[in-house]
């Protein structure tokens, strides 16, 4: 009995195809693939019921490297195909793999609409702030000033804030993670596996070739604790290498404070509430950016709502 159970347990390997990934060595995609397949194994859903749908871009090659059903569709259009699959067979768990160009430029419309319908689809947006597959042009998330092949004098447009867009569109599960922290990615993906409704996970991902180190200031091990904030539902917002700093809400303004100074204690800090129907806090958190604030990671919002279809 025990042996049988053990042999039927799925492992990460069960969800990997025998196709060798062709991403650049050191690409953040490897790490995301690792976490996704781990999460697939954790979820225990048989692979014939997992479907991975992608658009076009480096990230969108991911379905070839999993052993689930996959559909490598058109640039920006993965949510539409995912929609048809899910509506036809609601038993399937449908994941969308997309990038910042795919989901926010050409596919911005579909990204917004699958979320506002609260479709039971899970989108992972691999955000590397650059077009990789076409060799280095500015994307909708490229930071102002960035010199790319299409912006020789630097980016002048304002970047899209993916988490703000997801919240405004009505996604019921909104999170941000990064490729340097597999434990956090897996924890968020595991929760997403169980969620009924539109899942949006922004994954900051390093492009070693065209925009290397873009997120080091908030993702590198030595910077991470002091420059980022781990959101945990029901817990006070604390950060810093010695967990010496926190976020408070002072007359409607979020502020960074030192714990222990000016009489501030942990009890004064803002407590994260991901389950609130009111998206006001999530929206404010989505606007926080380094260096004025620590950059938030984790689950911004997770609520139950009627699902489309």
């Amino acid at each position: 009995m025990i042996a049988n159970l053990a042999s039927s347990e799925l492992t990460r390997q069960d969800f990997l195809s025998n196709c060798d990934p062709r991403w650049c060595p050191g690409c953040g995609c490897f790490s995301i693939l690792r976490s996704l397949t781990t999460s697939f194994a954790n979820a225990g859903i048989p692979k014939e019921r997992q479907v991975v749908v992608s658009g076009i871009g480096c990230s969108s090659r991911l379905p070839y490297y999993t052993s689930a059903y996959g559909f490598h569709t058109l640039h920006g259009r993965a949510p539409t195909v995912a929609m048809g699959i899910k509506l036809t067979n609601p038993e399937l768990s449908v994941w969308i793999v997309s990038g910042d160009g795919d989901a926010l430029a050409i596919g911005g419309n579909h990204t917004m609409h699958f979320m506002r319908r609260n479709s039971d689809l899970k989108m992972m947006l691999f955000n590397n702030q650059i077009y990789g597959l076409t060799k280095g042009q500015a994307s909708p998330t490229s930071p102002p000033g960035l010199k790319t092949k299409s912006t020789p004098y630097g980016v002048t447009d304002n970047p899209v804030r993916p988490v703000s867009l997801a919240l405004a569109s009505g996604a019921t599960f909104v999170a941000r993670v990064h490729d340097k922290d597999n434990a956090m990615m897996e924890a968020v993906m595991d929760e997403a596996q169980q969620h009924k409704g539109a899942v949006f996970i922004e994954i900051l991902m390093n492009c070693v070739t065209f925009h290397d180190g873009a997120f080091d200031h908030v993702t590198a091990k030595k910077e991470r604790d002091s420059h980022s904030l781990q959101l945990k539902h029901g817990e006070p917002m604390i950060f810093g290498q010695e967990r010496e700093k926190g976020i408070i809400d002072r007359q409607g303004q979020l502020q960074v404070v030192e714990i222990g100074q000016s009489g501030i204690t942990e009890r004064d800090l803002l407590v994260h509430d991901a389950y609130s129907e009111d998206t006001a806090l999530a929206h404010r958190l989505a606007l926080l950016e380094y260096p004025d604030f620590p950059f938030p990671f984790g689950i911004f919002r997770k609520v139950d709502a009627p699902v489309y279809g």
Binding site: S17, C19, P46, K47, E48, R49, V51, V53, S54, I56, P63, Y64, S67, A68, Y69, G70, F71, H72, T73, L74, R77, P79, T80, V81, A82, M83, G84, I85, K86, L87, T88, N89, E91, L92, N109, H110, M112, H113, G309
Partner: protein, 624 residues
């Protein structure tokens, strides 16, 4: 001056071969409803009926203006009725603007029935009349009956408790009553319809019945006309008053075909759509069906509409979308994905006049080349074209069958004329329909996503949820049997040929189109799509007049049926008539190396029979 209210000299119960009548009035006059009622009544008594509505492009065009005129044309008669009619025997004009905009279509000596109460100075001015046509001599070539329909209706409904405005809304039933007396139709059927339609508002039901009776009685007693006219019944039409006979437009027929095909195949139906004139009704007709096996998704745009359709096909539904030319342009990239992923899809393209937004409420047949070539790469797919409203059922059903049998997207070409025009129709029973066998792959051992059926060259349909058949599909070129990504040039060439051959092979299964008219003629007329009725009537009339003409109408435009070239080459002169600048004509010339000539019309309206005859005769004179 035209004498009104004079009985005309008719023999008793004169029998008419056919009648073309148009109800016209302001957008708010209930014209569409009145026209539809008369058409359905005519069909119920066993006449062949074709209808054509026309309404303003604007939803609320200014009242009383030419732009605000709504019309509904009906042609009813015996077996030779194939179109909604070129010229009017009777025009019912509820206001000056509707008289002005339709007068040119009325036959000389035709009947014009007007509601003279609306011929106020203001309405005359809105219709751009300097003087009232009822008092000048402009209508002397017609038999004009000017009635006080508004006043008569109000008088009849006095004491009904309705407001003046509410009473006026019943005046279309007065007109219907009068026409139903003149061209006798069963009163009881009208009563039943009224009672059902206004079941929750009995006061309106009573008022409409009263108005209808008043109109009827007016006809009987006012001696406008000596006797009613009988219209010749059909001899070939199967009329079954007891069962599923219905009056159906092309769009409703297409929707019905999708449901029938899905149920025959044992699949759920999925339609991803986006509103666009004149295709929207296909989606809306399906939404009326509340059944778990019919799913309709209104997407955020045409790209999402067909994207969801491709997803549904991958997941194992009978997947369809409906659109018009501009939408088809947006869908091209996804149609191509379905071509390379080899997924079954039904794409119903209800054509309208282009390019670009063009004339969105006018008909045209100018998307054939877009359907055939409007995608990057070598992208073959079958194209079918419906020839009548009810043929939209046949072609859509056939498209579903081909799509599944050959694992390919299929485009069905309809057009605005077919979408809006209607005829009586009997929905086939399930057992009458062609089989649509579905064989989902289930065997994991040795499974290869692109290993083909030897006969059809179709690949297996392996849907998510099936253990052991997990695979990735997508837009990159496929290795010829494993379906894995392949960048190999020789494999690509093999796949380009395989995809082409798969579609080309369909030709041998297709029947040759029947030859109408005189098959021994030296002149062959060829058409496709909604021109069928006009071309057939033109052919029949020409042969009656002693000009020998043969006529074939193509429903399969890609591939053409096997043997078509040989049958066309039997004729020394080939003329293609189409509502574009010669798209089918070019295809026939290119594929068959024949000197096909063109009869073209791109005025947003279908050919009239006279136009076809005139142009064909000119061409025949030139060559002789």
């Amino acid at each position: 001056m035209t004498e009104t209210l004079q009985p005309i000299n008719e023999t008793k119960h004169q029998l008419l071969d056919e009648l073309t009548i148009k109800f016209a009035g302001d957008s708010g006059d209930g014209i569409q409803l009145t026209g539809q009622r008369f058409a359905e009544l005519s069909s119920q008594v066993g006449e062949v009926v074709r209808t054509m509505p026309d309404f303003p492009a604007e939803i609320r065009a200014p009242a009383g203006t030419i732009g605000g005129v709504s019309g509904f044309q009906i042609r009813t008669g015996s077996d030779n009725v194939h179109t909604h009619g070129d010229r009017l025997d009777v025009l019912v004009a509820m206001n000056p603007a509707s008289l002005k905009s339709n007068l040119a279509k009325v036959k000389r000596n035709g009947i014009i029935l007007v509601n003279q109460d609306t011929f106020s100075e203001r309405n005359l001015a809105l219709a751009d009349y300097q003087t009232s046509p009822l008092v000048d001599e402009s209508l002397q070539d017609y038999r004009v009956f000017a009635l006080s329909i508004t006043k008569l209706t109000r008088a009849a409904l006095k004491g009904s408790g309705l407001s003046g405005k509410e009473m006026d809304r019943a005046k279309n039933f007065f007109a219907l009553g009068l026409i139903c007396w003149l061209f006798p139709k069963p009163k009881t059927a009208v009563y039943q319809w009224i009672d059902k339609k206004f079941a929750t508002k009995t006061v309106f039901a009573q008022a409409n019945r009263k108005a209808f009776d008043t109109g009827w009685n007016y006809g009987e007693t006012a001696e406008l006309f000596a006797t009613p006219y009988e219209i010749k019944k059909a001899t070939k039409l199967k009329v079954d008053h007891t069962s599923k006979n219905q009056f159906i437009t092309g769009n409703a027929a297409a929707a019905s075909a999708l449901v029938c095909a899905a149920r025959k195949a044992g699949l759920p139906l999925f339609l991803g759509g986006y509103p666009i004139t004149p295709a929207t009704e296909v989606m809306q007709e399906l939404l009326k069906i509340k059944a778990p096996d019919v799913k309709v998704f209104q997407a955020e745009d045409e790209i999402a509409a067909i994207g969801s359709t491709v997803g549904a096909a991958f997941a194992g539904a009978l997947a369809a979308t409906s659109t018009s030319g501009p939408g088809l342009a947006l869908m091209g990239e996804f149609i191509n994905l379905a071509v390379i992923a080899e997924l079954p899809l039904v794409i119903i393209n209800v054509q309208r006049a282009g390019p670009s937004t063009g004339l969105p409420t006018k008909t045209e047949q100018s998307d054939l080349m877009q359907a055939l070539w409007g995608r990057n790469g070598e992208s073959p797919l079958p194209i079918l074209a419906a020839k009548t409203p009810q043929d939209c059922f046949n072609m859509t059903y056939e498209a579903a069958r081909l799509a599944i049998h050959y694992m390919t997207p299929v485009i069905v070409l309809s057009d605005l004329y077919l979408s809006a025009s209607a005829e009586a129709w009997h929905e086939p029973e399930q057992q009458e329909l062609a089989e649509i066998p579905v064989h989902f792959a289930t065997q994991a051992e040795g499974f290869k996503p692109y290993q083909r059926n030897d006969d059809t060259l179709a690949r297996p349909w392996a849907i998510p949820g099936t253990p052991g058949l997990e695979h990735i599909t997508g837009g990159l070129e496929k290795q010829w049997d494993t379906g894995g990504v392949s960048y190999d040039g020789e494999n690509h060439e093999r796949m380009v040929h395989l995809r082409a051959q798969k579609i080309a092979n369909i030709a041998k299964t297709l029947p040759l189109p029947p030859v109408y008219g005189n098959p021994n003629a030296s002149v062959l007329l060829i058409g496709w799509g909604s021109t069928f009725g006009s071309l057939l009537e033109a052919t029949e009339q020409m042969n009656q007049q002693g000009d020998a003409v043969a006529f074939i109408h193509l429903q399969h435009l890609n591939p053409f049926p096997k043997g078509l070239a040989e049958s066309i080459r039997q004729y020394s002169k080939v003329v293609v008539a189409e509502n574009n600048l010669g798209q089918l004509c070019q295809m026939l010339r290119a594929q068959f190396l024949i000197d096909a000539q063109l009869i073209s019309k791109v005025q947003g309206s279908p050919f009239t029979v006279d136009e076809v005859i005139l142009k064909l005769k000119l061409m025949m004179e030139k060559s002789s």
